[in-house]
Symmetry: C2
Subunit: 239 residues, 2 copies
């Protein structure tokens, strides 16, 4: 029998931590959506790093680097974290370094402790959920949130995964945060756009004119690829 | 115009902190429900303390002391944190020291920073909400949770307050955590007992045979008293 928990922000992860559990990192707007976009393009690996300084070191070594802070691309780097930045066919086979305000921090946190660590968003939500259901392992989902705060879109995506796991008998123990995320998702799934109308991050991105990014990031199941950490690199899981 | 935020656990409070905001502490099962019960009995003041050691010092000075850890009364003290422990008419006019697993920690956290700090639960939810709506101040609600984890009942009670505040025009800015708590409450309000059937803390308390405590703690508006911190003491707000 398996347990499923949700850390509603990275800060809460230590309360759920279990080195034998599979860790799922979610950053819907936009790191994990962009990661799925990159793998759909045929990118070979994504290297999530926590700081601008580390990103700079990788860039000096000749790597392509995506870097975002406060929702915007940092000028000196190659990409921001828009999923559309990673759709250029020329990126096929490349390794790309990525640092973002929230999402890459969650990877670096989880990478230290999880049995396996995967990247999820609405873009690959069913693929990740079905794979999790086959693993016979406890699951901890980390919502990246926004600068330490809870956000609606990550919790909703966590709820979509919990909703799918709860159709599998072996998941019989849920944290309250998992139940709350599931209720949120069930109430919102028929119109996620409308539901997120008032969310803080969507308002922020609307100001930044990122309507297309939002639409891409909230559209489920555009990818069947499960990005999984292998050392310091996210690579497509071979299933 | 005013802002309303919810710290879904005490650990997240620093992300919302604002010394000019009114802070509302919630610990539905059972600290803030018991505090309301005590004031309804006519207790003069509740002194929330963080540690067993401090509680012992107060007891040595001759105070009555309630102390709970892991859901159970600690033997050497006078009460646990069952609301029923505080209904004895002999307590009228007394000052009582209280230490609990989660709730009193939240008070000690908030007491350092809030403009004003009040205690809320379903027991006094409408009284607190109506008072907040009249204050022309930002509001930060702290859910005590369970040992650092999010819990459903505190978030639901926070959602009940947000739901009432949102009927007042001056509240026009909500954190995502406030919106999520409101959605949770709106989905659950018609049958909170059933909704909380699977919550972790309710399961824990059911094992401890605390059905009556749960019923008391989930029954709204049994009290119109707003307990407010004055120095190190919670006292009834004079309205």
């Amino acid at each position: 029998m398996s347990k499923a928990s949700v850390a509603l922000t990275p800060l809460l992860y230590p309360n759920y931590e279990d080195p034998d559990a599979i860790v799922v990192v979610i950053d819907v707007l936009r790191a994990t959506s962009a990661i799925s976009s990159a793998f759909e393009t045929g990118v070979k690996a994504i290297i999530p790093v926590e700081s601008i300084e580390l990103a700079r070191e990788w860039k000096a070594k000749g790597f392509l680097v995506g870097a975002e802070r406060n929702g915007e691309k940092i000028e000196e780097f190659d990409f921001g974290n828009s999923p559309y930045d990673y759709m250029d066919p020329a990126l096929k086979g490349k390794e790309i370094v990525l640092t973002t305000t929230n999402g890459t921090r969650a990877f670096n946190l989880a990478a230290r402790e999880g049995y396996k660590v995967v990247s999820a968003s609405f873009v690959n939500v069913t693929a990740v959920s079905e794979w999790l259901a086959d693993q016979d392992r406890d699951v901890i989902i980390i919502c990246s949130g926004w600068k330490g705060r809870y956000n609606l879109e990550d919790s909703m995506c966590a709820g979509a995964i919990i909703d799918m796991l709860s159709q599998h008998e072996q998941f019989n123990d849920y944290s309250d945060s998992a139940l709350a995320s599931k209720y949120l998702y069930q109430g919102a799934k028929d119109d996620t756009f409308k539901f997120l109308r008032n969310s803080s991050h969507r308002k922020r991105m609307k100001r930044l004119n990122m309507k297309e990014d939002i639409r891409y990031s909230l559209t489920p199941d555009q990818s069947k690829i499960i990005p999984i950490l292998n050392g310091d690199r996210l690579v497509p899981l071979e299933v």
